[in-house]
Symmetry: C4
Subunit: 250 residues, 4 copies
């Protein structure tokens, strides 16, 4: 068996596509953002990526029908300017070697479609609740840094200190070796739960960069639910304890 | 050394064979069921699969003679209709890559024999003792879901929540990519021990689907032994504690 | 880099060689026995096996000169009958895949030299001190079982229950697939320490099977030292505790 | 994707180069020493080594621009005698197989440049603070042992007992198989923190062997800072406890 199996559902012609990546990770920020984008743009799945670097697992749909875990590429035809390819999926490669293999394959596919710019989306865990999560950035070139700053991305020395691990980082790292321009947008998140507010923050920057508009109602609703839950938990707390770092919430 | 070594003991001609898989897993349900089927059908071993994805281990027979751990394919010639191939074995592939490799090889062999339908057998751990274990299903197509419902298989939304992991799932997942029809029959089990009652439940559905009849005396005897043991343990308990979820047993 | 690097120190012509394997394992029994045999027979190293399946490690000699960890093949020319090849080394392959790869390579080498019989040496952990360790056996054929019984090897149903793991088992398992006759001699051992008494027991059987004689003075001396140490520890114990299973020692 | 990707920044002509290796490890001694040497010699990066055996990670520079984690080769042209190649990097290969692969590749590159002598730098953890760390050695030949003794390297039987693990050992072990002369210089270190004093000790020996001179001011400054910190911690201790093995410090 080959390390990676590709299934092509459709063979679209794409105009200078931009790749947007959002896979499971810290606070699920990247995946929440990518899935919201796919849904709002009604992007169409055109390639499924199966691999022995993913878990040996099938997921069961509500109708009882299974599908093998995968990463998937969706496309959105733009009216003016660059088309968009979105990468989402069930898992990242499990082993480090698998991470490299899969990212390398995605870049091969992306270059075949003539793509030359990538945005990867992720979360950056700060280990505490954040009422107004910032969007931090990292890029493959100084020019891109300036472009992102204009869109509201913050660059903070030594944040994140350990660099970027996983697909969101590797697409930049291996992309840089191929002279592909790429940037990572990282939403601050507690990392304690799936974080729609951080995902929305990241998406608000992304749509500016892509020159598109999307509706955020569902993410806002989910954020509100989590804020309400956090607030009610916080109300219960004073009787027991009131740690300093939670005071500013609510 | 190749990843997988095949040893052919016999070269049978098979008529549109159906593959039944039962390897070690949760509650040992799949393996118990497959081994019972092999025994009752007097199915004959025709291919042994050795692999470096299995543990580096030999097992010792009562006569002092060893054999290398393996997965094995058995066949049963049917009087009317499809022949049956049964896959049983000592282990599943240890690594995730190994799981993919071995399942892929099994599908290659199966397709060479002209097979196009697969039933995988497994257990679904519910973490408590079950007096009347259900048989849950998952399939590669909606049509098969209906067929299985008629045979008594239950489909329950979000059960099992995590999907199916291992060979029982991968044969469906990788089979689906090859347009092979496949279904997984999962017997509810506590998962605490090797569970003959759950295995029998799965087999009772399977024989209906295969249009064959087999004797269940041994499995029933083993189930009875475990029920007696559970009951006597339960009798001892009231003095100490009587948890709610065990009350209905007996 | 290839998975395995072979360095040939010499190209001996060997007459129907018999392979004896003793690598690190339970109670270090196999390695102690093989190294004693190499020393007493003044066997000569003729092939070194290096592999990325061994740890990335060099050992430092008393003179400050390093050597890369390896497995090594030694030969002994017999005056009458079969020559002997002995396999010893620093480690077994670390991963299960590595275990298979290295054993497969050893069998390739052995077959090139025209070998057709293998004895593997190992320990079988019984988890308590044994004053008179038995030598248990397992073989690739019923005929060999009878041969070994005559030499004093015991065959005990369900011992060892889990079969044989590692090189001592794989040489039998993969050897069996190549129609090579092979037997494993397992010395009972507590498994608590490097066990020269168990190694001697195994060697005493082996030399009968090989039709050779060797001196055991050093192993006997080491066994005596350990017996003395155990006895003195035992003398200290009564004041504190005297567990039943240790009473028979002394 | 190939296991290892090489990016050549420059194609220097080098005269009988000597390889100096210093990668992250015990007390970070090797990397501190190699990075100091690169800085003082103003050595130029000419090859970057990327590999799926490294973590799937990018590091972010102060300017917000990323780079994929790597090992890197730097060169220094000597006025008289051998040129110097220095190997430094972010990580060692994560898996044992990866360690072998990367070392093997480095040796391939080194031999293409006509190199035939290697010094690897590392730390040897003694598990306690050392005021005057020794430099211990290990080599691929007896001749080199004598050469190193003259330069002040100590050879101590059974130190380090476990041999040398990782790139510093493998370059010797795999180098020896290619008849490359190689030596490892190991600075004693507590192993509790990044140890500039041990790194300086190693470098002082190395520069003698290379016949060059470099400035140590920065390493001395860092050592002083750590000594001051250790002393002040020690001053605080008597009130609480004064373990024997720390008394000689200060």
């Amino acid at each position: 068996m080959k390390d990676i199996l590709l299934v092509h559902h459709e063979e679209p012609k794409l105009n200078k596509p931009i790749l947007v990546e959002g896979l499971p990770g810290v606070g699920n920020v990247g995946k929440l953002a990518a899935d919201h984008l796919i849904s709002k743009l009604k992007a169409k799945k055109f390639i499924s990526i199966y691999s022995k670097h993913f878990p040996p697992q099938v997921l069961i749909g509500d109708d009882g029908v299974i599908r093998l875990v995968s990463n998937d590429l969706y496309y959105h035809k733009s009216k003016n300017g660059s088309d968009i390819i979105i990468l989402s999926g069930d898992y990242q490669g499990i082993s480090q070697e698998g991470q490299y293999e899969i990212t390398y394959e995605v870049l091969d596919i992306f270059e075949k479609f003539g793509g030359s710019r990538i945005y990867t989306l992720g979360g950056w865990s700060v280990g505490k609740l954040i009422s107004e999560p910032r969007v931090l950035g990292a890029t493959t070139s100084k020019e891109l840094v300036e472009e992102l700053k204009i869109a509201g991305v913050q660059f903070s020395m030594n944040e994140p200190a350990g660099g970027i691990v996983g697909a969101a980082g590797l697409l930049l790292g291996l992309g840089q070796l191929r002279k592909i321009e790429a940037a990572c947008l990282m939403g601050e998140t507690s990392g304690y739960f799936s974080d729609p507010k951080s995902a929305q923050g990241v998406l608000e920057v992304l749509v500016k960069l892509l020159g598109i508009k999307i509706d955020f109602t569902e993410l806002e609703k989910h954020s509100k639910e989590i804020d309400d839950l956090t607030a009610s938990l916080n109300d219960l707390k004073p009787a027991i304890e009131k740690p300093d770092e939670l005071r500013y919430i609510g």
